[in-house]
């Protein structure tokens, strides 16, 4: 079956903005100089001056708009449909947040504005720090890291600084084999060595393996709880004891925080350092790949090492940026962090409040378990069994191994066929531990009707595959493009338009 959707004129596949327009067209009208004219050649010697202007597009505003609006229509998005990517927490992005973030008092505020003229912003950051501290159970917060992986880097650098300060040289970090790739990548960038921890049959950390590997050369154990299998590790208290017993720190990857807000707290579980992904639980829109934000919260003993600056409140109630912290690990970026994301996250926390946040997590877990139950009905469980356990937290991982062996379709094919049904597929092939993995996180903002429809679509695709596996193998058919040749793109990379 090969039905190519008709091309509308002007929306030919893959025509870039550089292939449109004509010499002389323009959108920008330059303001008049107003000052006496000077020849640029007098201001800039030849060797410093550009002689060949960059070949940027020459288009009018209508062309610019039509091009990018046209591109937007070739994107699936969360406002348009279900997006159950595991550990991504694709929950609804409330529109109030865009309105609030666009207020000029927030949007047109310079980062180096005098503190007395930025009290609103500093107060917002201070309050957000406090809310994150309360949610995590760890009192000291830095909002600086730009994204989760930068928060992780901060966490590992903080750990190094903590050990160095105590005169100890530790070289290794433990991460479970279910860990997200950012964890080991971060460890290397921070100058330490990764040691992998095995997962037990219940899907949690293998305690025996942990006891064997935990020694005084271990700086830190990086975990997320619930983990990427959606399983809450019931042994967490014991894990914390083992890790602290050898003097190492316990780091919490906050990617799965959506499962536990208001129900339990990483600080109470024994974690020393936590990072948050504001673009996950706290509704900062994903933007197609950012911006995000990765604030961290730490315990008392780690706090001297926090990145600078930190927002502080003086006795008179005024707010300031405090960089006078001699043991700080320093800066991870310019200025103070992704403030635009703070406005949105803060608005979210204000809107939901304590009860609302707990409701969100409870509903996230309810929805995941419900969807899991629906996806195990009607014989689906024999093709797509749950990889570990019985219940799950906010996400679950199925294995497509049986489906591959019995029906000759892979998880990838199921995912591509789901596109034809109008759904974004779940995460595929992660965690690596599970064969033909399918990682599903519905989130709390999806209705029961949507979850039912999704389960029904998966059942239909599996039934279809029993009849004819070629259908899924050739999917998708109804999307703007069909399967793309990724091998050529990697062999002979073309990463810009040739002009």
């Amino acid at each position: 079956m090969s039905v190519a959707p008709p091309e509308r004129p002007g929306s030919e596949s893959g025509r870039t903005i550089f292939q449109k327009g004509a010499p002389g067209r323009r959108a920008f009208v330059c303001p008049a100089a107003e000052v006496p004219e000077v020849d640029p050649r007098e201001l800039l010697p030849d060797r410093l001056r550009r002689t060949d202007p960059p070949a940027l597009p020459e288009v009018s505003e209508p062309e610019l708009v039509r091009h990018y609006v046209g591109l937007s229509k070739r994107n699936y998005d969360l406002d348009s449909g279900f997006y159950p990517l595991g550990s991504c927490t694709m929950k609804h992005n409330p529109r109030l947040h865009e309105r609030a973030a666009a207020l000029p008092g927030h949007a047109r505020l310079h980062p180096l504005q005098d503190a007395e003229h930025a009290q609103g912003a500093l107060e917002l950051m201070w309050r957000l720090q406090g809310a994150l501290a309360e949610i995590s159970g760890l009192p000291h917060v830095s909002l600086q890291p730009c994204a989760g992986s930068q928060g992780e880097l901060a966490g590992v650098l903080l750990t190094r600084a903590y050990h160095d300060d105590r005169g100890e040289q530790r070289h290794k970090v433990l991460t479970p084999d279910t860990a997200h790739g950012t964890n080991p990548a971060t460890v290397t960038m921070a100058g330490l060595e990764v040691v992998k921890l095995e997962t037990n049959e219940a899907g949690g950390v293998d305690l025996e393996d942990l006891r064997r590997k935990a020694d005084r050369d271990i700086a830190c154990l990086m975990l997320t709880n619930p983990n990427t299998l959606g399983i809450f590790d019931q042994n967490i208290a014991e894990i914390a004891e083992i890790v602290h017993g050898v003097g190492a720190t316990l780091y919490y990857d906050g990617a799965n925080l959506n499962a536990i807000m208001g129900l339990t707290r990483p600080g109470d579980m024994g974690f020393d350092i936590v990072h948050f992904n504001l673009h996950k639980s706290f509704t900062q829109p994903h933007g197609g790949g950012g911006p995000g934000s990765g604030p961290i919260a730490v315990s008392e003993r780690i706090s001297p090492f926090l990145p600078v600056p930190v927002v502080s409140r003086a006795a008179d109630g005024s707010f300031a940026l405090d960089s006078d912290r001699p043991k700080s690990i320093g800066r991870l970026r310019a200025f103070h962090g992704n403030y635009g994301t703070f406005v949105r996250a803060y608005a979210y926390i204000c809107s939901l409040g304590a009860d609302g946040l707990r409701d969100a997590s409870e509903t996230a877990v309810l929805n995941a378990n419900y969807l899991l139950a629906r996806m195990q009905e009607h014989g689906l469980a024999e093709y797509l069994p749950l990889a570990f356990g019985e219940l799950c937290m906010h996400e679950f991982v199925l294995s497509g191994g049986p489906m591959k062996r019995r029906l000759q379709i892979k998880t990838l094919d199921l995912a591509k066929r789901l596109l034809d049904f109008g759904f974004h597929p779940p995460t595929v092939y992660f965690p690596l531990l599970v064969e033909e993995a399918l990682m599903v996180e519905p989130t709390e903002t999806e209705t029961k009707e949507t979850l039912d429809a999704f389960a029904a679509a998966v059942a239909t695709i599996v039934a279809e595959a029993r009849e004819d596996p070629e259908v899924a193998a050739g999917a998708p058919y109804t999307t703007p493009v069909r399967r793309l040749d990724e091998a050529s793109a990697a062999k002979r990379p073309v990463v810009r338009e040739a002009l």
Binding site: Y429, E486, A487, A490, K491
Partner: protein
């Protein structure tokens, strides 16, 4: 190559690499097995080490990439690289199509010919795959 194959005349390393002893002067050709290329998927990139590089048996000497995976290439024998397969920079998929022929990776001058004795024959290697 659609069908798995493990030529009888080659020697195999359990980490899915093969060696062919080329002559009595101690030269050998090295590559990855059908199993390895099948697990990787379509190979898109192989950046060989420079001629003259020393290989140590059982250690990684290069990486080979497909779209979604990176794999270490393990040296089945120790020696010095005397030639690399330049054709792979244009056509890395030769590793998939002809892993024992046009898809060879490097040629070495062995430093210790007795290492051959530690490698597996085709039958023994096949047995490791079944287990």
């Amino acid at each position: 190559m659609a069908q798995d194959s493990y030529p009888e005349e080659l020697l195999y390393h359990p980490e899915h690499d093969w060696a062919r002893i080329d002559d009595e002067q101690g030269h050998a050709t090295l590559g990855i097995t059908w199993f390895a290329q099948d697990a990787l998927g379509e190979v898109v990139f192989f950046d060989p080490p420079a001629i003259g590089t020393t290989l140590t048996k059982d250690s990684s000497y290069a990486e080979i990439e497909s779209v979604k995976a990176v794999s270490d290439v393990i040296a089945p024998l120790s020696g010095e690289i005397v030639e690399v397969n330049g054709g792979l920079s244009e056509n890395p998929e030769l590793v998939n199509e002809d892993p024992y022929g046009e898809g060879w990776l490097v040629k070495v001058r062995m430093s210790d010919a007795s290492e051959r004795g530690q490698l597996l024959d085709a039958a023994a290697y096949r047995a490791t795959l079944a287990g």
